[in-house]
Symmetry: C2
């Protein structure tokens, strides 16, 4: 088998990011001028649109509009939380046949790469030649094989900017401030809060990742000690923190809604931050007869859609889409795209990266956690993490103090 | 009496903003080169620092550092929530005498202008000549006499940017999204969410201000109707919404902590948004056996400290500080600074403004509400509001759709 003629279809799945449209436009970039592809369709709300024949023809969408869409956050085609099972994937293959689709691109996280893998299997079983490419996307940064994933650097930029500014606010009216950060199983995004520090003693003073078991008593002690020593305390907490038994602290507090992937809904609620704030108000020593000033903010969806994306993230998201399209031209291969860093992380190092094709099975339904060398004790990150993360987010605002 | 020689002291009070340091540096701008002022002191944490002799000498702080501080959010001197009563104000006057302070500048909102007014009275009663100037600051935009107040345009810029990006997120994974916006008694900041619309039918679909009584049943009906018609619903709700009896909805839900001004703590908790989200999940018609997707974000403190300030706000904040210092040179006057718009609001109008001195009593402890001509029905704002607000926030990110 070599180059097969037919149409292409592109979908965007799962939680959107600030740069997911860069990958969409990147795939189109890579397909235009490739003669074997006749039409380029977009799936409205991912595979749900595909099986319902709800497609948008992108073949002739003006480049100028695409270039503007590439810079706009959130999934321009619409997304879905549907998790296709075997029968659903069968319907996807049927839809591909119906629309003469031979090139299937799916931009998403680990669940999406698994959907891509199953579609690929179903098509193979049916003897229907279909190139299946997954393009990585997730603010959680939890895909295997990748140095980092498109979407993460921009979300990390938001988190680092927010912690820097919020620390000045907290210094201005001193107290205890909890900020809840996205990240279900991997702490990368919460760890990015540390980029706000000017020196190692600066805020955030405490960082709690889902990769380290969360002990409520130890948390209270940590905060009391910091507040006593510094006179204030800014705290980064992942929405995904778990206790020693692996139980999600947030899930116990939030009503318990689950999505089709069996994931408990963590974002879109302030319950975790509010409950930890209440705990501290109750447990910490009163100052002048009143509990210390404790506030909690949950950064929420702005983390993944804030329109001031990291420049590197913008470039790589588009490049990843283009790379997938170009690989799909080259014969009977399927796969995912992995970003590899080609420079050694470190202060002053110029950053560079390259794309590589990896097997779908290497990514699908797997979760990457924070490496041990990025985690310091039970409430901090290492310099190795800072060296890793800093080049990704771009220049942060300079915040001056008197 | 004419020009009196002595020192000057500057304080920053209440909730900080993205541009409050612009006003601090503006006062210093206006005092430097004014021979009657020998030393310029900053109060550490406002009047609390003054009465405790916790001052910072700013007389020789390098201009380059001041220029950087002016661009950094949150109160560089530190702030306080202390509300000085008559006895406290007496101690303030004593502290001024102790430090040979003859020029007293206080940057803050309506409570701060009232403190300034009382200090002025106490000094007069004591026969101690003290120029007292208030410099306006509040993200709530609720000071009398002012077209708008420094701090508001930058917070409005954050809110408008956030609603625009979050609307794309909500369109991508359709559902009901509640965003809680700061603003205790005046709805200006919540109203600014409407700047995110590209056309009148665009999101935010519903806007609830504290200036209009909030009826829970009508709210549920509004959301159900919009969700049915549009397939999604993005909602802006002020943290300060009140029921028909003037009871704060948020205060009923949040533990009930009050500050020294008797204000119930509304920010720093997700309880209002979470409870309204729960209400909608319970009351709206299930889709496929499941409640509709309802999420709530509470924008929190990032609204007042996000470091991408409005350019006009930056300029005016500094100008207001400088204006106060210059007026204080001109003899035995005290007062506050009011921003007047000198252009007619309207599409395509160039924006311009000027500063005027007003009496402290015209501002002190008063609250300005949204004018009736800015409010449309019970859940929207008028074009007049958009014309008023749009020039203040600066250029917003262009968000493109397919």
């Amino acid at each position: 088998m070599s180059i097969i003629e037919g149409n292409a279809v592109i979908g965007q799945s799962g939680g959107p990011t600030a740069v997911i449209n860069g990958s969409l436009v990147g795939v189109i970039d890579g397909l235009r001028g490739f003669g074997a592809v006749k039409k380029i369709f977009g799936m409205r709300h991912a595979v749900r649109g595909l099986v319902n024949d709800d497609l948008i023809d992108l073949t002739d969408t003006p480049q100028a509009l695409l270039d503007r869409v590439a810079l706009s956050p959130s999934a321009a085609l619409g997304s879905t939380r549907d998790k296709p099972d075997a029968e659903y994937c069968q319907r996807i293959v049927e839809a591909c046949k119906r629309h003469d689709v031979r090139y299937f691109f799916y931009i998403g996280g680990n669940d999406s790469s698994d959907a891509c893998r199953i579609v690929n299997e179903r098509a193979n079983d049916a003897g229907y030649e279909l190139r299946c490419f997954h393009v990585p996307k997730t603010v959680d940064n939890d895909l295997m094989e990748n140095d980092h994933t498109p979407g993460f650097p921009s979300a990390a930029r938001f988190v680092a900017t927010a912690f820097g500014a919020d620390s000045l606010d907290n210094a201005s009216l001193p107290g205890i401030k909890i900020n809840i950060v996205m990240g279900r199983h991997a702490g990368f995004l919460t760890a990015a809060s540390a980029l706000a520090r000017r020196d190692p003693a600066d805020a955030p003073h405490l960082i709690y990742l889902p990769d380290v078991p969360f002990d409520t008593e130890r948390f209270v002690q940590d905060v009391a000690e910091t507040y006593e020593r510094v006179g204030r305390c800014q705290i980064a907490i992942s929405e995904g923190i778990e206790d020693e038994q692996g139980q999600s602290i947030g899930a116990k507090l939030i009503a318990g809604e689950t999505d089709d992937h069996g994931n408990v809904q963590l974002s879109g609620s302030g319950a975790l931050g509010d409950s930890l704030a209440e705990l501290l108000k109750t447990r910490l020593t009163p100052v002048g007869g009143k509990p210390p000033r404790v506030r909690a903010d949950t950064f929420g969806y702005l983390q993944r859609c804030w329109p001031d994306a990291s420049p590197i993230d913008r470039a790589e998201a588009r490049q990843a889409g283009r790379f997938a399209a170009e690989r799909a031209h080259s014969g009977d291969i399927d796969g995912s795209v992995a970003i590899r860093r080609t420079s050694t992380p470190g202060p002053g190092e110029d950053y560079s990266s390259k794309m590589e094709r990896v097997e779908l099975s290497a990514i699908a339904a797997k979760t990457r956690h924070m490496p041990a060398e990025f985690i310091k004790g039970h409430n901090d990150v290492t310099d190795a993490f800072l060296d890793y993360c800093r080049p990704l987010v771009g220049e942060l605002p300079t915040l001056a103090r008197l």
